[in-house]
Symmetry: C2
Subunit: 114 residues, 2 copies
Amino acid sequence: MHRNHVYVFDVAGAPAAALDDLDVVRTALSDLVADAGLHPVGSEAVHRFAPQGLSLAILLAESHVAVHTWPEHGTAYVTLTTCRRPADGFVERTRAALADALSGEVVARTVADA
Amino acid sequence: MHRNHVYVFDVAGAPAAALDDLDVVRTALSDLVADAGLHPVGSEAVHRFAPQGLSLAILLAESHVAVHTWPEHGTAYVTLTTCRRPADGFVERTRAALADALSGEVVARTVADA
């Protein structure tokens, strides 16, 4: 059976402006992907919700990363789903990087790491 | 903190032809979404790998669903990431439906259901 890993990062207390800014959010995901040593394949899906909020999924050679934001609540969550386990320290580095990029608090949950 | 749910379905023993057929795979995901009572927002990302294999992510009003396939191994995995918990019985119904749609064995893992 193919093994895979799922990491969830829950964001809270972030400013609505950051969570509704596609460039800010995309850059945060791209930095996560680069830090994890993963590779975008050049295909993404984006949706802007009305009046605010966005979803972005980026396909990788090693599965995908996605984010969903609720600017009205200051919350978001990022999921990385990958068939390749990132290097040690990835979770804590990413937690800190997302907190910095989105100016919020971030709690990391490794929900599948078998 | 915003809660979310992640369900993983591991597929094995499926014919390569099914796993490399975007229509078959997309229909399987669409059926899953409909059964869960979730709502596509009309944006998806697709990537075909060479010489085979595909990734598909579909954005939902309630987050996203994605699949990654390895026809050469007869494997795939489907992840549903959602802020809304599907109705009771969803996991077992989806496991059986994916097994039928992809002609393989499917093991369900509920990796985050808090």
